[in-house]
């Protein structure tokens, strides 16, 4: 097939990718957008298979079959609560592919005896660097989300110095590769150093900052693909990679803004590393916390006209979304208006709560973002906070010295009555006490999220 046809097909694929992202950013066109992206990928792969350089198809088809089977299995079997882990893994696989392709491209120049150009060696080094950071960063993010390692920030002295040294070492070995492209050793040094860098830069970032990290790794996976495009001199890869890079950066910015923190602060700050002191917790909570029972809350709900659920990561952990939906249906059948207040960084990835509640058949219209719901809290009879903590902490508004100062929060405290479903008074990720739990209009329902909501349903049934 003539090269011009191949390249025109690649151009068509690139256009489809742009339409894919455009579609994915509007609810009505999202499904079509995703299909356009898949179509773009299909024609890109198909035309590549027709390339005459390819002399053996067995292994390619084997690879495609194995990859498709594993990918489909993951996509169909994965629980919605485990979605952050899945996205983290997929980010990483993209990075790994870039490392391998760049390595193979370098070795091919050794075989064919072609003198590698400066562009090629620089691009190969960049692919190896970004790809390895993406892969190992994603593996650490996965391990943290899956709780294979502690979700807390892991800090050690000299961390920043070590990272700086690793960055310099990776770039240095990249330069070495550009100087001595006849051997592959410098390349594997780049990859090894960058792999360590991926681990040491992700390990200090704590669980609640995961939405930022996942968005950033998403962006990296795009940049790794773009770098591979530079290696292969393939514009379609460059365009596709750049698009993904941009999309990841946009999400990263949205997440940072929702926490009122800069990206530098998230990456290097290590928030939550200092444990909450008992005295500060006592000063906030002592004698002021009112515990309640499911029966008491059910009585409140019986007469409530407007109820707002405020879900957080805890709801995902206890898998309470279906119970919440059942309770909401019950309330709605009694004429109560029910809505859900979604904080942009609630959960462990962008949009985590939306996905969970959609899985439980909560209608899209009932999910309200922060700016829409906040003015409505004063007219809300009961706000039920389930598994959320820092995103409803009024200290963000009042205490300029608190680690979450200035973070936009959900004004759940302005509802007539606030019911907080929580197992204990343990602090959230920011490691600070939450005055909301001791507020005059707050009732604490100490229990596991799912059990508490099911108890509420039983109590309401009993009352009816």
């Amino acid at each position: 097939m003539p090269l011009s046809i191949v390249n025109l097909t690649y151009l068509l694929a690139a256009v489809l990718f742009i339409l894919c992202l455009k579609g994915l950013s509007h609810p009505r066109t999202a499904v079509r957008g995703n299909l356009l992206g898949a179509a773009g990928m299909l024609i890109a792969v198909a035309v590549t298979l027709l390339d005459r350089q390819i002399i053996s198809f067995e292994l390619i088809l084997l690879g495609l079959a194995v990859g498709s089977a594993l990918g489909a299995l993951l996509a169909v079997k994965i629980q919605m609560t485990a979605m952050p882990q899945m996205v983290a893994l997929l980010n990483g696989f993209g990075g790994a592919a870039s490392v391998l392709v760049a390595g193979a491209a370098l070795i091919e120049t050794h075989i064919t005896g072609a003198e590698p150009t400066r562009q090629l060696t620089i691009s190969i080094a960049a692919s190896g660097l970004i790809g390895a950071v993406t892969f190992f960063g994603s593996l650490i993010a996965f391990a943290k989300l899956q709780e294979l390692v502690s979700g807390n920030p892991i800090l050690f002295p000299g961390q920043h110095v070590l990272n700086a040294v690793l960055v310099l070492a990776a770039i240095g070995s990249g330069v070495w590769l550009a100087m001595e492209p006849q051997t592959a050793t410098p390349y594997w040094v780049v990859v090894a150093v960058s792999s360590v860098l991926g681990v040491t830069t992700t390990i200090p970032i704590g669980g609640a900052d995961m939405p930022v990290v996942i968005s950033l790794l998403n962006s990296y996976s795009g940049l790794a693909a773009a770098a591979t495009g530079f290696v292969l001199n393939n514009n379609m890869l460059v365009i596709a990679g750049a698009l993904v890079g941009a999309s990841g950066i946009i999400l990263t910015q949205i997440m940072c803004k929702a926490m009122n923190r800069s990206l530098t602060n998230v990456l290097f700050g290590g928030v939550g590393a200092a444990p909450v002191t008992k005295s500060s917790a006592d000063a906030v909570y002592a004698g002021k916390v009112k515990a309640t029972s499911a029966e008491e809350v059910a009585m409140l709900l019986e007469t409530a006209r407007r109820v707002v659920f405020v879900p957080g990561y805890g709801m995902a952990v206890s898998q309470a979304q279906h119970a919440v939906r059942a309770l909401a249906t019950m309330l709605e059948s009694r004429g109560t208006a029910v809505e859900y207040a979604i904080h942009p960084v609630a959960g462990r990835m962008p949009g985590h709560m939306n996905v969970l509640l959609a899985e439980a058949d909560v209608p899209y219209e009932a999910l309200k973002d922060m700016d829409t719901i906040n003015p409505l809290f004063p007219q809300t009879d009961v706000a039920i906070v389930i598994g959320a903590n820092d995103v409803v902490n009024p200290l963000a508004r009042t205490d300029p010295k608190s680690p979450i100062a200035g973070m936009p929060i959900l004004d759940a405290d302005k509802a007539h009555t606030v019911v907080v479903i929580k197992r204990s008074l343990s602090p959230g990720f920011a490691g600070i006490p939450n005055p909301l739990f001791a507020a005059g209009n707050t009732l604490m329902l100490f229990a596991d999220g799912k059990k508490a909501v099911n108890d509420l349903i039983q109590a309401l049934k009993g009352a009816a």
Binding site: C20, L24, S25, H26, P27, A30, G33, N34, L35, M41, A44, D51, I54, I55, L59, G63, L64, V66, G67, S68, G71, L74, A75, M80, M83, M86, V87, L90, F93, G94, A96, A97, L100, V101, A104, A105, I107, E108, I111, R118, Q119, I122, S215, N218, G222, A225, L237, A242, L243, A246, S247, G248, I250, I342, M349, P350, G351, N354, V355, A358
Partner: protein, 92 residues
């Protein structure tokens, strides 16, 4: 270096296109946008296929096939899981 500059031009322009196209994405679509764009980053598959198929050496072939597997998981898993999520959003 002309190649590098030409490719760099396309790269920078494509980033701007990305920013313009994905404006004001609503929170509900944050996860699908991420998983969908993630599937696109599996485009490295194209390079992987070429490495795996050209049979320069066993080593490049092995690297290529591994890359094909990784990238295909990325592509197929990404688009499918995005579709599954969006289907959940659609049903009432």
């Amino acid at each position: 270096m002309e190649f590098l500059v030409a490719t760099l031009t396309i790269f920078v322009l494509a980033i701007f296109v990305g920013f313009e196209v994905i404006t004001k994405v609503p929170p509900t679509l944050h996860t699908p946008l991420m998983s969908g764009s993630n599937a696109i980053s599996g485009i490295t598959l194209v390079g992987a296929i070429l490495s795996a198929g050209t049979k320069h050496t066993t080593l490049t072939e092995v690297l290529g096939v591994c890359a094909v597997v990784f990238a295909t998981i990325n592509v197929v898993g990404g688009f499918l899981v995005t579709h599954r999520m969006l289907a959940m959003f659609r049903k009432k």
